[in-house]
Amino acid sequence: MASDGGVSCLRSSEMLNVGIGGMEPPPLDLDEVHVLAVDDSLVDRIVIERLLRITSCKVTAVDSGWRALELLGLDNEKASVELQRLKVDMIITDYCMPGMTGYELLKKIKESSSFRQVPVVIMSSENVLTRIDMCLEEGAEDFLLKPVKLADVKRLRNCLSGDVKLSNGNKRKLPEDSVTVVQASLPPPPPTPQPSLMTLSTDSSDSSPPLSPVEVFSSPLSSLGDDDVLTSSPECSPTPEESPIRRQKMGSPGLDQ
């Protein structure tokens, strides 16, 4: 199997694969990092796939949470069959998708015994702090603001490779132990604006600065009541545009946004 050391052509057959929502993936070299990308937008799937391939990942891109669960063997109640289970080192998913949001997909993955250890990264075009916090609390490893850039993906990739290459014989060590995780121990947001102090406790030497109370409340609290986060509406409720804050959890020290 040709080693996909860095750059590879997005062949038309692959584009078709990406376009129709992902078919049976080709056999994987166990040493390669395999990422499952989920996004209902074809344009975004193509871009994220390219970004991941450039950073030496094998990519399977699907167009919905349902397809992702199908591939992972989590789409029905019975225990997933070992043989059919996809080997996945990371799942990166769009937040706003019709049918099943990225948040709902995240929950399902974290509820599964087979895949709860797999890092799940959420992407969103909207910088809504409550949304970010909900995802992090549910166990998301990171939250990327769209449009996603190569620097973002490289950062994710660096964290992963640190884990995958760990010891001889155990190249697929679970990332949980070594990935720095910021525990967002926020209480449920209050219904009215309160200038109270909130603290984010960190378990690690994560170099990104903790949010100040002002930042935590900078998004309008009217978005708190939105049920876009929990229901599967085709559009996520509109939020006012804010300047992007790239929130880093899997941070490499010294890396800027």
């Binding site: 750059v7 590879s8 052509c9 997005l10 584009m15 209902d40 937008s41 074809l42 344009v43 975004d44 193509i46 871009v47 390219r50 970004l51 450039i54 706003c96 019709p98 075009s125 769209k146 449009p147 996603v148 850039k149 190569l150 085709p234 559009e235 996520c236 509109p238 545009e241």
Partner: protein
């Protein structure tokens, strides 16, 4: 031959710079260009092509949703606007994205006339961008055919 290549390269540089200066493109387009290389020489044009397909589809959806005699489902319009905003953002189509932001607000306000006007603008804007990028890609082809290399344009 050399001076032809140099001329074309200069023309190309100026053209690309103008696209940024006039707000057609933003740094996400630069990002996409940086993902292109000899192994994937057509990456940008392929992605943009998909983007324009998206535009056709989504503008069609919006037009249909706005064309209801009776009550217009603004959330339906908004859903398509949201998608277009997303993909325009992902390819660096700055003006289209900007229009989508306005459009979203108009949908929220259920401003029918505003939406119709905005839709017309979106339609014009993506088609304009498509033509401009086509010219840009053509210039690239001409440079290559004349034996030159497409220059990296430094966007300040």
């Amino acid at each position: 031959m050399d001076s032809l290549v140099a001329q074309l390269q200069m023309q190309y540089r100026n053209y690309v710079l103008s696209l940024y200066q006039q707000g057609f493109l933003d740094d996400q387009f630069t990002e996409l260009k940086s993902l292109q290389d000899d192994g994937s020489p057509d990456f940008v044009s392929e992605v943009l092509s998909l983007f324009f397909d998206d535009c056709v589809k989504l503008v069609g959806n919006m037009a249909r949703a706005l064309d209801q005699t009776g009550t217009v489902d603004f959330s339906q319009v908004g859903a398509s606007v949201h998608q277009l905003k997303g993909s325009s953002s992902s390819v660096g189509a700055k003006r289209v994205k900007g229009l989508c932001i306005n459009f979203k607000e108009l949908c929220e306000a259920k401003n029918y006339e505003g939406c119709v006007r905005c839709l017309q603008q979106v339609d014009i804007e993506y088609k304009t961008l498509k033509a401009k990028l086509q010219d840009m890609f053509n210039l690239e082809k001409q440079i290559v055919q004349a034996g030159g290399i497409v220059p990296q344009v430094d966007i300040k």
